[in-house]
Symmetry: D2
Subunit: 370 residues, 4 copies
């Protein structure tokens, strides 16, 4: 039996709740899950959401959740700025932690969180769900098996259009206090995939851009935008592979694109999160007259697709990725090997993002661990 606490009940809070609610039934191999205690900014909201999400208890004080002895693991889905205090407290209280990304506003805070995790001996995992799709897992298998030979180049893009409307008003994501912009919002996801598939980034040379330099405020005046919707980075990985990482949150037409192009000595692999049930594979072992990208639809042979649907090509959804992530978290809690981004690896993602920002400001290549 695993007792779950949830702090925060917005979009990601609901995602966590749905994952916790589904994981036992989908996988059939986990302990029973008990939704114990939900924390929100005030007691009323906490009460209402606990009812909706099926939690037994509700508190307007997150400390009550963390202190609850019936809880084994805390899902932390509050805004970024609250992560450091809450995460450290939860870990110190002896709870396992499932914390949404990005880790923290500053690198120092992220470091403190990683330190706390290490000291606690508890499992502390970040919510990087895109590494969980059967397609990405299968890509890792293909890479491990050498199906495309030795990888020599990599391109990764992440684009959406939720900031693309120039007439949308100024809001907090345009303030420097919210971070760099696309780097925090988006670049961390491709970096989670890069680390998961290839290892760490060694050096970066990043450019950033503001498609719309100012925006309308509520008072009708224009206010300069302080963050960058676009970031484009040349990268070198520690394993010697070169590549590019390009992100844009003002890219009209893109809704959830994370496009991978992986080139090796014997083939290549393409992937796009907008069609995340598909992998494109090109191999030179095919007869020359029949070489071409194969569109491989995810199915039961691609773990853990079969836990959800026994027929191939029927398609997992975004929320299923979160359920898979939850299942991996449980494996980690139970001491089994798990496909997760722990706090130490999450810290490397943050380190890379900050190096990218520095390389832009200083217009030069920056060593991530320099």
């Amino acid at each position: 039996m695993i007792g779950v606490g949830l702090i925060g009940s917005g979009f990601m809070g609901k995602c966590h709740a749905m994952a916790w609610n589904a994981v036992h039934l989908a996988f059939g191999d986990t302990p029973a899950i008990r939704l114990v205690h939900l924390g929100e900014a005030n007691a009323d909201l906490a009460e209402r959401r606990a009812g909706e999400f099926g939690f037994a208890k509700a508190s307007g004080d997150w400390r009550a959740v963390i202190a609850d002895p019936e809880i084994d693991v805390v899902s932390l889905t509050t805004p970024n700025q609250f992560h450091p205090e809450m995460a450290v407290a939860a870990l110190e209280t002896g709870k396992h932690l499932w914390c949404e990304k990005p880790m923290a506003p500053s690198f120092a805070e992220a470091q403190a969180m990683a330190d706390a995790a290490r000291k606690s001996g508890k499992v502390a995992v970040l919510g990087y769900n895109y590494i969980q799709s059967p397609a990405i897992r299968h890509i890792r298998t293909l890479l491990d098996e050498g199906v495309i030979g030795t990888v020599n180049h990599l391109r990764i893009e992440m684009d959406e259009d939720f900031m693309a409307d120039p007439d949308a008003p100024f809001f907090w994501k345009h303030e420097a206090a919210s971070g760099y912009g696309a780097l925090d919002d988006f670049a961390v996801h491709p970096l989670s995939l890069i680390q998961n598939l290839f290892g760490r980034v060694a050096s970066v040379m990043c450019d950033m851009a503001r498609p719309y330099p100012d925006r309308q405020t509520d008072s009708g005046s224009r206010r300069p935008v302080e963050t960058y919707d676009i970031a484009s980075s040349l990268i070198h990985l520690e394993n010697g592979v070169s590549g590019t990482l390009l992100v844009n949150r003002s890219a009209w037409g893109r809704k959830g694109r994370i496009a991978l192009q992986i080139f090796g000595s014997k083939g290549s692999i393409l992937f796009d999160q907008e069609r995340f049930n598909e992998v494109q594979l090109y191999v030179t072992s095919d007869r020359p007259t029949e070489q071409g990208y194969r569109t491989i639809l995810s199915g039961p042979p691609h773990e853990p697709y079969g836990r959800f649907i026994p027929a191939p090509g029927h398609g997992l959804g975004f929320n299923d990725l979160k359920t898979i992530e939850c299942h991996e978290l449980i494996a980690a809690i139970e001491g089994r090997p798990a496909n997760v981004i722990g706090f130490d690896e999450g810290l490397e993602i943050e380190r890379t993002v900050h190096a990218m920002a520095r390389s832009f400001e200083e217009r030069r290549w920056v060593e991530v661990r320099g």
Copy 2:
């Protein structure tokens, strides 16, 4: 509070359980759902599955489930042949019913089920989930609004490859007792879409084929295949639209294809279930130099996508369709308008399938209601 009974715990049983488990959390507007009682072929299996699926009680006798006064609605996911007796009994006991397709082995039995449903005054719904995707719902909106003008032609295909291997052994789906073959397995799904989008089929002219005339048995001998993996039908709808309905369960490479081509006087619509988060739309109201099929990714403006994910293009999965179906069932139970295939409409699907089989046998056009 809705009390749920489940009879049958295979693939579709698990699907129903997952849907019942998820619907309240996803939608937030339903009564609380209680998983009350699970019935299986024997008490041991029932007990085990009740544990896995989270049902409070378990029985080796389906009649115990139906008789349980805590149950409001029965999910019936046993093999086809058991539907008539169980469905009629459940309805007569005053339970609402969510019954998997196809209805029954024979048309007479399906008729008896529809009669029982009508007499009971209870909600009786068939598990046609493909009508539930936000994409298909949006197609219906587009048709209703006349975005592609007056529809004049329709092509629909459903193909998978789970029977495509000629070396796979003979099994019960190759016996005539299992039905016609692709007509029962597949054609009912496109028919559910046709009825949902356009209304009933008036007349049919069907051809069927056996790609592999015999198959290996366990004893090593060859046994003639009695069912048809392929069915191709010319169709006329009651509304005057002509078209074709083609199904193939031995179509290597197809995994979950249901491809729609809808042609109207002002445009056309394409859809493929293998990418069911997408709709292709062509409209003549676009400037001639810019006319082309648009790939519309499902998102919050396409109901009820937003209940699952607030960001567009992130993708629902197959099981989400079942959750939506469950939500519609609840609407029907609560007396609100609902997008479901009730037993009367399901009976029309069966009637059409039988007409197709007759047209093949008699090599002539057959009126469905003739």
Copy 3:
């Protein structure tokens, strides 16, 4: 040296001229080509077009072209109705013949043309260009090699939207005198592919439809449409393969679609003429976890792509197909094996079209050679 005469200088006349003009340079292995004599409806037009197209002589009388002793082969691109008289005359004069499709308005006339060809001992070829793409040729190789095993089912569609506008006025293609409609315009092309890849059609069951029953005339009144823009046919091939052949010339959004789906015991092949530099191949010999449709881009290994471009994936165009067809015609004239639809095979296409029409009129299966 081959002397060429051209009768007719519309769209297809220009296509033939371009092909004759390009074939020697593209292939480098043909005799020199001399554009000798162009015939048109009147001397003025003939003169003008001869200048544009580069023909040495011009006549307002087609008989002068046919009688010209400097001519070895006649390209016949006049409207359908003139084919019989001109074709027979050309063959009787001892000219080889390259005649555009369809052969003739009536089956009897087509038969007379085929008889004349046989008697003449000359090469008489029909302008079925879609069999000429490197992709289709490669599909034939794949089929011959058994790459997808034994073919058991076939679907083919041809769709365009040039008749799709309900507000376009009545014109000659709406008159019964022009033929059946989509059968003559379109169905002959898929049939050329079927015969080229699989052999002849044995029996057919066809449905036809008029999306717009009447159209505006110049005088402002409405006139009933006498032809059918849509034809859908169930087919059985002589080799036992079943399938469907569906055509629609009122299919908004389709511009030059000819979509093939070929299913075999070990794989399947997809093709669409709108992307005719690509073939999709699925084979079960790929490892199960990596099975998927490969998109094979045409390149030098796919004959005769390399005669046009030495780099793969750069793309042939529609007119290149006509140049390839011209090259095959020259091979036939020189007595070498050639990939062409001769008059005898063309007659089988016509026979099948007429059988389809009869099956529609009589609402029954019709044996093509019955």
Copy 4:
């Protein structure tokens, strides 16, 4: 009447010959074209190719071609290193010039060529054919009309796999004397598109990579590769737009990819040369529920598609682009506005390539005109 001389008869020489041979017939509005004189490395080869390509005269000395008074324009398709001397000589003799890219091995030589062109007053055009497709022309129209608003970001990639095989032997393209590698081979093409659509590049920050550091020589030993198959560049355009330009000639699976992503304030445009008869357009003026990328197939409304084929969606080929380029060259010769990359614009492309190389060597941003 235009008299044509051709120097060089390899792949591009044949392309030029085919274009000159086809242009009058395809467009119908040019002077007659006369293939006068072909020059090759020796008289025998010149004679043979003149016969194949249809040129009246042949010489083993290129100076004889340039001196021929019957010639108005010289097509120069020899290897890069011969361009400077031949181009300058041809221009000084008063011939118009159609010179293949890249201009010259060194920037100084390219400058000398551009100077000679300016002094001569003759038309001097570089063979950048990718700007000629109806799709790219249409993209320019869309940009000019503001259909996607103000462009703010741009990504362009060019990838092929002809250098991707690590077991292919060392050859001259691996020597430093051949240039930088992918920059010369590929980057010039995307730069031609960028200049054609958006104007000049202001500054660049480029990274380069060698996927295979050494290769086998004929003698069996390994020799270090001196060029770079991969180049990735951050770019800023003079108009303020930022972007990336990525090229890879060792990209397994890519055959002729030139992928454009253009993001604006009201929409976006995608394009891929591997499917160059298609443009993808996303516009926010579509109703929100129907927004999506439209796949626009080239057709007669997209100039000059209709000169080749009167029906949309039938597809131009690579060689047709060269014919269009030839037609633009003739327009330039006749003093009409023409869509060409003249020597001055070509020089800017070279300047940008050299700036990219410098930025890689010096690991810093470089101003192109700095």
